[in-house]
């Protein structure tokens, strides 16, 4: 561990550089770190992916089971997103049930996928009110170097795109699994873009040391059409309305760029 004085000095430097429009790692204020996506890395999962966002590393796996629909949505399959901040990913993560950070992370990713209708949940219904497919998306943070939300949202979507559903048929109320797989239909590609407010400036894709000094962050998820489907403000600071509108504009542009880079735009 570096001494606190060194940390303070570094934080001051990060903050001062940002006010001059520069960042300590050489990026511009609107630049993402390098994004790498690998899919199909866990054979036993129905879908899986690993995302590297600079040094931040997140894995996501999809498992599918038969289950019951929720009473208020009898015609829809069930989507469940969970996130684990695994202790091996950071000295600040501890074993135990998900804390508020893990829960918030999972719920923000969940809202992006759900509200953009990325998955047609009605197609996962087998027998209305009785039997549906249940999708479990489990996000596994492997290395924490900031901006877990964007990395996790990319990993979750990449894993869903990679997902193959086992073939099955219903015979007299009984479900029989048949050989072969069908890809899970994906209707939309929501992309989450997080901006941090440091020194009254907005910076895209904050890394860990920037997150430690930011006043607040805002995550904006947009869909293929450029519409906004989820927002989450976090941190103990605030944004002015003007900053929020600016963040929306940046997030829409960045999402288009990321979709193009990953081959998700048609």
């Amino acid at each position: 561990m570096t001494s606190t004085t060194v940390v303070r000095l570094k934080q001051q430097q990060i903050s001062q550089l940002i006010s001059k429009g520069k960042r300590l790692d050489g990026r511009g204020l609107r630049d993402y770190r390098e994004i790498r996506v690998e899919q199909g890395i866990i054979e036993k999962a129905e879908g899986s992916a690993r995302v590297l966002l600079g040094k931040t590393e997140v894995m996501a796996g999809v498992k599918i089971e038969f289950g019951q629909p929720f009473p208020d949505t009898p015609n829809e399959g069930v989507l469940t997103v969970n996130a684990e901040l695994v202790p091996l990913a950071s000295p600040t993560f501890e074993p135990g049930p998900p804390d508020e950070n893990a829960i918030e992370l999972a719920r923000v990713v969940d809202r992006g996928i759900r509200e953009s209708n990325a998955i047609d949940l009605e197609k996962l219904c087998i027998e209305p009110g009785k039997k549906v497919l249940v999708l479990f998306v489990d996000i596994y943070v492997l290395n924490h170097d900031g901006n877990l939300i964007d990395a996790s949202a990319l990993a979750a979507l990449a894993a869903l795109i990679n997902t193959k559903v086992f073939n099955y048929e219903v015979e007299g109320g009984e479900i029989k699994i048949k050989p072969g797989y069908t890809p899970l239909p994906i209707n939309n590609h929501p992309v989450a873009v997080t901006l941090a407010k440091i020194n009254d400036q907005l910076v895209v894709d904050p890394w860990l040391e920037e997150e430690q000094i930011m006043d607040a962050r805002i995550t904006i998820t947009t869909d293929n059409q450029g519409n906004i489907c989820a927002i989450q403000k976090g941190g103990g600071g605030y944004f002015t309305p003007k900053q929020v509108f600016e963040a929306i504009q940046i997030a829409r542009e960045k999402a288009v760029e990321i979709r193009r880079k990953l081959g998700w735009s048609k």
């Binding site: 927002i231 944004f239 929020v244």
Partner: protein
């Protein structure tokens, strides 16, 4: 389960409870309602009934959680089992844990945390009846409880939700509108600082609709802010009159 209404806005442009799109539900606020708490407040917003209590600043245990340069704000948003149609388990749900976090982060910017290093203040919010928009009403009432506790603040935080139902942007969603509507956007705002301290959204909005929604929410917050000030005056100015 109640059946979904076919439309949420009638041909006259009125909502299910007769409100216009930019109209708030009736709001009743009372400050200083609990004897034991350092500060407390109660709000009724439509059918929402919410109590908030503040304990602190006080010593923090365990001590290693204390911060050398500021107070720790802790917040618990909790719904009573009888507050909704189907009984809610009293154990904190994932939703309640997330809301406790975002409510805390909505209140923090208002408080001079640095005035009370090494201490903690607890904000307890109990939703006694819920009918949509409880996180916003919770912020509104909790910021009054903080003020009632005498904690130095930059401004009161007022909060209000907006949403899209039947293609129209409307203010202060009630439960049906939230569930059936196309978008929900809760927002908390400090008028004196022009600061948004809570912003969430789910649904689908174009950037134009979003800008309209945010301005409508801010207008709503300003109206609620005036009611908050009146509630504080009713508590403290009227006491003075009695003394005279």
């Amino acid at each position: 389960m109640s059946s979904k209404p076919e439309r949420l806005i009638d041909e006259k442009g009125l909502r299910l409870d007769g409100r216009k799109p930019d109209e708030l539900r009736p709001i009743k606020i009372e400050v200083g309602v609990l004897a034991n708490a350092d500060g407390s407040a109660y709000i009724e917003q439509g059918k929402n009934k919410i109590l908030a209590a503040v304990y602190g600043p006080k010593e923090l245990h365990p001590k290693h959680l204390a911060l050398p340069d500021r107070m720790v704000l802790r917040c618990r948003y909790h719904m009573a089992p009888f507050s909704v149609q189907e009984r809610k388990s009293p154990a904190p749900s994932r939703r309640e844990i997330e809301l406790s976090k975002v409510i805390r982060e909505a209140l923090e910017p208002a408080i001079f945390l640095e005035y009370y290093p090494r201490t903690a203040t607890d904000v307890f919010i109990e939703v006694l009846q819920a009918d949509g928009g409880t996180r916003c009403a919770s912020i509104t009432v909790a910021s009054l409880a903080l003020a009632d506790a005498g904690i130095p603040m930059r401004d009161l935080v007022a909060a209000c939700s907006v949403g899209k139902v039947d293609g129209t942007i409307v203010l202060d969603l009630m439960d049906v509108e939230d569930k059936v509507g196309e978008a929900d956007l809760p927002l908390a705002y400090m008028p004196n600082l022009d600061a948004i301290t809570l912003l969430q959204m789910d649904g689908n909005l174009t950037p134009e609709e979003f800008e309209k929604a945010v301005s409508l929410a801010i207008e709503g917050c300003k109206k609620i802010y005036n009611m908050q000030r009146e509630a504080l005056k009713a508590r403290y100015v009227s006491v003075k009159e009695v003394e005279e």
